[in-house]
């Protein structure tokens, strides 16, 4: 008996991982052959930078989707957070306090999402879509449609800080990814998310506090979107309503590509999401390198979403036929 075997057995999605790794390998080889710049350090840096915000939000989205829900608010929270942060900083609020306030705001939004979902018995898709729309409207109203720049120097300098040669956003992502990877397999609360997604009623009768769990899942997702917003503001030294446009689509696609089921909760993994993130980042980069217009990116993202669902459902059907 293998000691590395975990309770939410990785075995069942292994095939999915293999397919993904193979695809990543193929794209990498093809690109490396086509362009000598693909495997250079500067391109890898671009590759990571273009997808790092989605990567962060995909961690929270994985837990939301495993719990059986979906969160479209992230595309609204990301720019909202950057704008709120910028306004706070320009009003002489200390950086640490501003960050805390932004995170608090995100937690409140997550709580509102869950409260509406529960008290109105609405599908999370409807609730989160509405909240995202409201936030985008608020963003536009506050900024009047233009970017906020001219932020305090101390903040602007954060954008060029390098720790171990990496920008702040990378460090934040690495820490978050490690925590999510470890916790999702071992932590009691994370395990409960799987149970609730698998069968909400059975989970409640098994003594899991289902409502608190849902609330926390949405708070985590919203908070990670806020973190992404803050990091975006740091990276560009500005805030804009246009940050994170269509990020929801890209993040959900990433999670789905990673093998987390959109059709029923309770199955999926953070490890899969990490692979999905790598795959999507490489694909987007391959576009840029190939000179394909970024306008086509959404077309392809949509196509991948369908591919991902087909892949994971297809494997399931094949398995059921076998057994």
């Amino acid at each position: 008996m293998n000691k590395r075997e975990r309770i939410f057995s990785v075995k069942q999605i292994n095939f999915h991982y293999l397919v993904l790794l193979l695809l990543i390998l193929i794209v990498t080889v093809v690109m490396a052959v086509r362009s000598p710049y693909f495997l250079t350090g500067s391109n890898l840096q671009v590759l990571i930078d273009t997808f790092i915000m989605e990567a962060i939000m995909a961690l929270g989205m994985t837990m939301v989707i495993i719990s059986g829900g979906i969160d479209l608010t992230i595309a609204g929270i990301l720019p909202f957070s950057s704008i709120v942060l910028a306004l706070l900083l320009m009003n002489k609020v200390p950086f640490a306090a501003a960050v805390l306030l932004v995170l608090l705001a995100a937690a409140v939004i997550g709580t509102i999402t869950n409260t509406l979902r529960r008290s109105l018995h609405l599908h999370p898709m409807v609730v989160t879509m509405a909240i995202a729309a409201v936030l985008k409207g608020v963003d536009l109203t506050i900024t009047g449609g233009s970017a906020i720049s001219g932020l305090p120097d101390s903040f602007v300098r954060l954008g060029s800080v390098r720790i171990l040669g990496m920008p702040v956003s990378w460090i934040v992502y690495i820490i978050l990814a490690i925590i999510f990877l470890y916790f999702s397999k071992n932590n009691r609360w994370f395990l409960q998310v799987f149970f609730v997604g698998g069968n909400e009623d059975a989970a409640r009768l098994s003594g899991i506090k289902v409502e608190a769990l849902y609330r926390n899942v949405y708070i985590i997702s919203a908070s990670l979107a806020a973190v992404a917003g803050i990091l975006t503001a740091i990276t560009y030294s500005s805030a804009s309503y246009s940050y994170g446009t269509n990020a929801d689509l890209r993040v959900i696609t990433t999670v789905a590509i990673g093998g987390t089921s959109l059709t029923h909760g309770g199955s999926g993994s953070v490890a899969g999401t990490l692979l999905g993130t790598l795959f999507m980042a490489i694909i987007y980069n391959a576009f840029v390198m190939s000179g394909i217009s970024t306008y086509y990116q959404d077309v392809v993202t949509g196509a991948f979403l369908i591919l991902a669902v087909l892949l994971s459902e297809g494997i399931k059907v094949l398995k059921e036929r076998k057994s």
């Binding site: 008996m1 000691k3 075997e5 975990r6 309770i7 939410f8 057995s9 075995k11 397999k185 071992n186 932590n187 009691r188 609360w189 395990l191 409960q192 799987f194 149970f195 698998g198 069968n199 009623d201 059975a202 989970a203 409640r204 009768l205 098994s206 003594g207 899991i208 506090k209 029923h264 309770g266 199955s267 076998k322 057994s323």
Partner: protein, 501 residues
């Protein structure tokens, strides 16, 4: 020459041989029952007759001629129709639409002839004596009514062979009576009825013949005059089950574990008072709708209590959610294992630790893989869950009896002092049933307080030490189970309110 003959049928799924060389003759105008433990192959055999699966070898003969059916539509062509265990009613459509789904009477250009649809449906319901309004929305009707709709749906296609897969498992006693009346009616009309059930008393009551399946083979067909319960059981399990029910309590303490005093929940139950002591099994009997499950839900914290008080070892308690109840050692094993009991797409191990996560986590937070595995393996052994290496099997892939055992494992792992079991043997075969009853007794003898809710009188009488009789949300009496008869219990359930006072 028999009307329908299945001849040396064999069927495997992968390496798993499900049916081996089965031959059975069926005649017109008979009710022919099929019985066997879970996983014996009854449903597979019926699906082959109904054209859903194809046999690997062997053939099906109708009036001596071999027929081949590749899908249910071809089976209908041969006059064979199945009413499945899981009903396939479209809940938001009318009863009539459900009966004629996919072959609605149409007018010019394919517009549905609504008048004729409702008239035809009324005629179909009339045929089987079902009192259903064709315009009623199917989802608002009782399960019994929905089943009548399903039967009408099959009969409307002019079938001569009607297969019913465990039709009575979700029906109330009245509905079962009505179903049997219809079956006898259809038998008189010369139809062949193949009836699959777990309930021996039903089978011996209405069938003309019974064929017994065991591990994918047919161990024989009995005529009416040879249909004895002991014989059937022997053919099913391959051995005698001497004592269907466990012995009574060895030592019942007088220490009250759980007491309810005048508890009520509006519209569900009212003014219930009872005590459950350590070391005893208290049976709670009542028909469907008596308020038993609702009462258990309220005690367990899954629902509120409007009035009254619950005491745990004499201390007043009120659980706001199941988590609090479980913490105090009160566990509730639900009646509907698939819907609210198990996580069917998760593994046996995950299910086993679901209600006791804290105890298999280091510092209560981080999972200890080995502990979870040990715990699960212990229960697989103790409860004899098959197959014995099912640790990482999805629960969905286990048979009904074994799923029920996993549900037991889940709750035993939570280490209860008071165990509420709701219909603990529903849809479970004879062998597993006897085993579950013995487990309950063992738990009680080890000092646990067991509260068993059941609508099966033989089970209540065979297992409990004390019987709480419920009817329409009220407690009609608490009887000591000494020489208690089914009649005593039924009389208590239906006795007049005035007499009770």
């Amino acid at each position: 020459m028999s009307y329908l003959k299945i001849d040396h049928i064999t069927k495997s799924f992968g390496n798993n041989k499900v049916l081996t060389d089965i031959s059975i003759d069926f005649e017109k105008g008979e009710i022919h029952s099929l019985i066997g433990e879970n996983g014996a192959g009854k449903s597979t055999l019926m699906k082959i007759i109904g054209g859903i699966y194809q046999a690997d070898s062997g053939q099906i003969l109708m009036e001596g001629k071999p027929v081949r059916m590749h899908d249910p539509i071809e089976a209908y062509g041969c006059g064979i129709g199945i009413v499945h265990q899981e009903l396939s009613i479209a809940g938001n459509m009318t009863a009539a639409q459900n009966v004629f789904v996919n072959h609605e009477p149409v007018k010019w250009l394919g517009f549905i002839d609504w008048k004729k649809l409702y008239a035809d449906a009324a005629a179909e319901f009339d045929k089987i004596g079902a009192n259903i309004d064709p315009r009623a929305i199917a989802g608002t009707l009782s399960v019994g009514m929905q089943q009548m709709i399903e039967i009408s749906k099959v009969l409307s296609k002019d079938v001569n062979v009607l297969i019913l897969d465990e039709p009575t498992s979700a029906l109330s006693d009245n509905e079962i009576e009505n179903l049997f009346r219809i079956l006898l009616e259809l038998k008189k009309m010369g139809k062949l009825i193949i009836f699959i059930s777990h309930k021996l008393n039903e089978i011996t009551r209405i069938s003309d013949k019974v064929s017994v399946l065991r591990d994918g083979t047919c161990t024989g067909t009995l005529d009416r005059e040879h249909m004895e319960v002991q014989t059937i059981i022997r053919m099913m399990v391959g051995r005698n089950i001497d004592s269907l029910y466990p012995p009574k309590a060895k030592c019942r303490s007088n220490k009250k574990a759980l007491s309810a005093e005048h508890i009520s929940r509006t519209g569900k139950f009212s003014d219930l008072s009872f005590d459950i002591c350590y070391g005893e099994i208290v049976g709670m009997f009542g028909l469907v709708g008596a308020g038993r499950t609702e009462c258990a839900f309220s005690v367990f914290g899954a629902d509120k209590i409007d009035e009254g008080q619950i005491y745990l070892e004499g201390k007043p308690v009120s659980f706001k959610n199941p988590a609090q109840a479980i913490k105090e050692g009160v566990c509730y094993l639900s009646e509907d294992r698939k819907a609210i009991g198990l996580f069917v797409d998760m593994t046996v191990k995950e299910n086993t630790v679901a209600a006791c996560l804290k105890s298999v986590c280091r510092h209560g937070q981080f999972l200890d893989e080995n502990k979870a595995k040990e715990k699960t393996e212990g229960y697989i052994r103790e409860l004899d869950i098959h197959p014995d290496h099912c640790l990482d099997y999805k629960v969905r892939n286990l048979s009904g009896g074994n799923q029920q055992k996993v549900l037991f494992a889940k709750w035993l792992a939570a280490d209860p002092r008071i165990l509420i079991v709701d219909e603990p043997t529903r849809g479970v075969d004879v062998g597993a049933k006897a085993m579950i009853h013995h487990i309950l007794r063992k738990l009680a003898d080890a000092g646990m307080a067991v509260w068993m809710i059941s609508s099966e009188l033989p089970e209540i009488l065979g297992v409990s030490d004390k019987v709480i009789v419920m009817h329409e949300g009220r407690c009609k009496g608490i009887l000591e189970n000494e020489d208690l008869t089914e009649e005593d219990v039924m009389k208590t359930a239906f006795r007049e309110e005035a007499e009770h006072e």
